[in-house]
Structures are given as C-alpha cells and as structure tokens.
Amino acid sequence: MKKIECSNELRHKAEEIRYDIISMIAEAGSGHPGGTLSAADIGTVLFFNEMNYDPANPQWEGRDRFILSKGHVAPLFYTLLAHAGFFNRSELMTLRKYKSRLQGHPVSYMLPGVEVSTGSLGQGLSIASGIALACKMDKKFYRVFTLLGDGELQEGQIWEAAMFAAYRKLDNLCAIVDRNHLQIDGNTEDVLALEPLQAKWNAFGWHTIMINGHNISAILDAFREFNEVVNKPTLIIAKTVKGKGVSFMEDQAGWHGKAPKDDEVIQALSEIKARMDA
C-alpha cells in the first residue's frame, strides 16, 4: 500500500472521502452522516498513512488490523476500503441495498477488509484486545486499531476491555475515540456525562493523547506517539465536530442517523467540492 505522506494530500483525500460518503448515504436514503463525517479525517490518516495492508491480499498476515467499533459509520469504512483498492468505488452506491456487500453495518464474511462484523456498540475494544493479545502470543508485530464513538463509551463492556488491555500491557493496541460530543438523544454530557474522559482512561492505565481530530498533522503526530509507547495501550481522544465539513450538519445531533435529500445533497457536495478545488 502506497502511503500518502503530505498533509495537504491527506486533507484532499479526506474531502474525497467525504464527497463519496454524502453521495452514498443520499443514494441509500438512510445512514449516519454525522459521526461518519466527524471521523473522516482520522480514518483517512489511518488508511492512507498509518496502517500497513495489502488490498490485493486482504488476509496478509503482517497487515495492521482495523476494527470499526462504531459500526454505524460503515459508509466511512466502505469509502476508505474502496479508495484503498479493496473493491471498486462504484460499488459504494449499493450501500444498504438488497444483496449488497455493503450492509447497513459492516459484515465480515461479505466484504474483504472487514475483520469482524460490528454494529452492536461497545464490543470493538474487546475484539481488538483479543487480536492484540493473539499478536503478542504469536510474537508478531502488527498493530491493532479500533475506532470508537464517544457515546459508545457508556457501554459497560468498554471498561471491562479497558481494564483487560491495560492489565495485559497491549502496547500494540491503539483505540481512537471520535469525541464529537453528540449522541442520538443529545450532548453526551446531558445524556450520561463522560467527562473527565482523559482522566478516566489514565486511571485505567492507558497512555492517552488528546488532539484536534480534524488537524491532519496532529493526527499524524498522535500515531507516531502511539508507536513509541511501551507496556501500555494507547487511547487517542480526537476532539471532533459531528457532521464536520457540511455546514448545516455540523454539531447537530439531528444528523446522527438521517440521510440528506435533494437540495441538501447538492449543497453538501458543493461545499466539499469547493474545498477540494481550493
């Protein structure tokens, strides 16, 4: 996999990803644009700079593993996989349709590049920990990345896994929290407060890094830092804006699980296009 090293190119790639995300969700007529757009920059850096994999050989043993714990942002995952070459971009338009490999939430046995089916929240960190443990047992050197939603951290299983990974010193494990502050019923701090989030993870024995999740250089630096950490798993808290990159979706809980229509699609795509052409 050829890596994109230049921040500007990564930024441009992230906009291409956003463009396809809006297009496919609009075509599907349903989906989750909010959290998909907030994680687009993190996903882009992961897939086009940080992770090692081979789209021609999805089961290559040395690949870094990626687990999408917040399975509802499947459109982001699918777009990243398509742009990385796991399958043709045209297939993105089959999202959520009958007989499509692009199910509403990712299904592992249908699509190459998907390690495990997800969709029920709170499980990805445990699965990623299991993979990271197997990696250690086998004395291998790949790394395991998992993308978590912030609302998802309300699931108790997350904290079971947090204890486990730290206790087992899984320093090959990197979890990224898409901290966009919004869940379906409103602000996380109003529904069930998560703060002080970083202090909690520190107390659980993790190495934590807090960044602006839309700053490409900051994301790159955070992964560099993860690679240096020994004996501890790493948690990156990526502060993001839900719906980032589409003005009318930004910071609106209402855009968690709703597809844009007609004029909204045109406006969203033109905003993204304008940044791509800038």
Binding site: S108, V116, S117, T118, G122, S129, A134, M137, G156
Partner: protein
C-alpha cells in the same frame, strides 16, 4: 458387580482440555473467575501461557475470544451457562455468530441439579438461547466420557459451538469406547414399548427409570440427543414412525429446549403426539440436587412413572 463409574461431566471437559493442550497448540482456554468450578484450572496448571482469566467480565471474555479466533486460535470460553448465555448473549449473537467465528462456548452448571446455589445459578434456558442462533452448534453431553469426546469434537469442527455441562457427579451411561459424532443421535437401548429422547446428565435418571420399568416388563427405546443443533431429524422421524408418539426428557425449560426442537421437526415432517418432561415456565430454587429433581418431576422414580403412563395410555 462392576464398580459404578460416577463423575461430574465437567471433569470430562477438564481432561479433554488437557488432551487438547498437548495436541493442538491453537487451543486456548478463557474463564471468568470460576476456573476451579469449571475445571479449566486443570488446563491452566499445565498450560499457563495459554490460559486467560479475564476476571468477572463475561461480555469482554466472549469478544476477547472472538478476537483470538480471528487470528486462528481456538478459544474455549468457559463459565456458568446462565452467565455466558445470558449476560453475553449480544456478544455471542452479534459478534461470534454473525461473523461465524470459531469460538467454543462452554456453559457449566446447566439445569436445576446445580442445587443449593438456587435459581440465579441454574441455567435452564441456555439451550433455547443458543440453538436459535444461526451458525451455532449445540451439544449437551450425557456423562463425563461423552463430555470428553464432545470437547475434542468441538475443537475439530469449525464455527461457533455451545457445550452444556452440569455440576453434579452422575453415573456414566456410555463408556470410553462408545461412538460419538456431533449431529448423530445415540440409541442407548432398544425396546418395543415407546421412544424416549433425552439430553444431558438427566440421562442418569432416565436409565435408572428404565431399569425400574424393565422389572415391570416394560421396554422403552432410549435415545441420547446429545446434539440439539444440528438435530438428527432422520432419527426423530424414524422413531415417530415406529411408535406413533414420542416422549422427551430434559433438565431445561420446556420453551425452546430439546422437546421443542424435536416438536419442530415432527410438526413439519411427521406430526405425532409429543409428551414433554421439562421445567414449565418457572425458575429453579435451592435444595439438594436429588430433592430438586424429584420436586421438578425429573427423578428416576418420577420419570419411570411418567414413562409407564406414556406407554399404557391410549
């Protein structure tokens, strides 16, 4: 007289794990702080680097196993049946079965014969919960010999599987040479008076009941349905045709258990009357295992009376 071979079936599981430890380097064992009770501590002692105690965290345990299985390991996830099937049901459904992962789930302490711990610890709905899941195989061995073989067979097959164990020491009704194949029912004794299907350690009571019936010159055919899923349809239909009615016996809720599974086959393919001995829409409670089995109508004495009634009624 031959010395009775009495041993808890969880011992068969513990011994099989040791065997797998020696023969299959991919086999790992996970437990949630109950390793003495479930016998996984025998494996832990011999293969400490392949034993993972996750603490009291069943949901995490199942998904850790899922991750391990993705990397080619064969994890045996072990704890009380009531906890793994109940608390971790979503993990089993949405991760293990939905992804069709090679995770082996072992629920010890099935049935009311768990005894004094009471209803909170007696899994009587685990078979129902596991057998409804796509991709899942469900095995309920009858004694320690069969538990040993079932454990080895589960390691050989690919895909998610549930193994139900029990706490009490029960008499072996098979021996080390008996054949065992997942999905193939085992006829323990042939008789001309009726057909009785059972699953699990209740087989000990069933076989004692059969001895009592022999004294009355009554001879049931007894079939050990150690595999609930995939169920041996051919065997069920064969005996339904032969006797025109079927009796089922299990230490599980009637809803969704062995009797239900058999009835599903018969209703579709060869409808005959099915008499079910099971637990009816209630929880278990505390008491000595023998006392409980009798109170729930599942002691050898009560079973023999029910079979007699089943044979003699029109």
């Amino acid at each position: 007289m031959k010395k009775k071979d009495i041993q808890p079936i969880r011992d068969g599981y513990g011994n099989a794990l040791i065997e797998l430890g020696k023969t299959n380097p991919n086999v790992l064992v996970l437990d949630a702080d109950l390793s003495t009770s479930t016998r996984t501590n025998w494996f832990a002692k011999k293969f400490p680097e392949r034993f993972i105690d996750v603490g009291i965290a069943e949901q995490n345990m199942v998904d850790i196993a899922a991750g391990l299985s993705i990397e080619g390991k064969i994890p045996f996830v072990t704890t009380y049946g009531v906890f793994v099937c109940g608390r971790a049901f979503d993990q089993i459904r949405n991760t293990v079965c939905y992804s069709n992962l090679n995770v082996k789930i072992v629920g010890s302490h099935g049935g009311i014969s768990v005894g004094p711990d009471g209803g909170s610890h007696q899994a009587i709905e685990d078979i129902a919960l596991m057998r409804i899941l796509p991709h899942m195989t469900v095995v309920v061995p009858c004694d320690h010999h069969q538990a040993y073989k079932a454990t080895l067979a589960m390691a050989e097959m690919i895909g998610p599987a549930y193994l139900r164990l029990a706490r009490e020491a029960t008499a072996a009704i098979t021996d080390e040479n008996s054949a065992f194949k997942i999905g193939k029912a085992q006829v323990l004794t042939e008789g001309d008076d009726c057909a009785v299907f059972f699953a699990g350690t209740i087989g000990d009571e069933v076989m004692k009941a059969v001895e009592m019936l022999h004294k009355k010159k009554m001879y049931p055919t007894v079939i050990n349905m150690h595999t609930i899923k995939p169920i041996d349809k051919k065997c069920i239909i064969q005996y339904a045709k032969k006797f025109g009615k079927i009796m089922t016996i299990e230490e599980h809720l009637q809803a969704g258990g062995l009797g239900s599974a058999i009835a599903e086959v018969l209703v579709e393919h060869y409808p005959v009357k099915v008499k079910m001995l099971a637990i009816f829409d209630r929880f278990g409670e505390s008491g000595q295992p023998g006392v409980l089995l009798d109170a729930f109508g599942l002691s050898a004495d009560k079973i023999s009376k029910k079979i007699e009634q089943f044979i003699t009624e029109p």
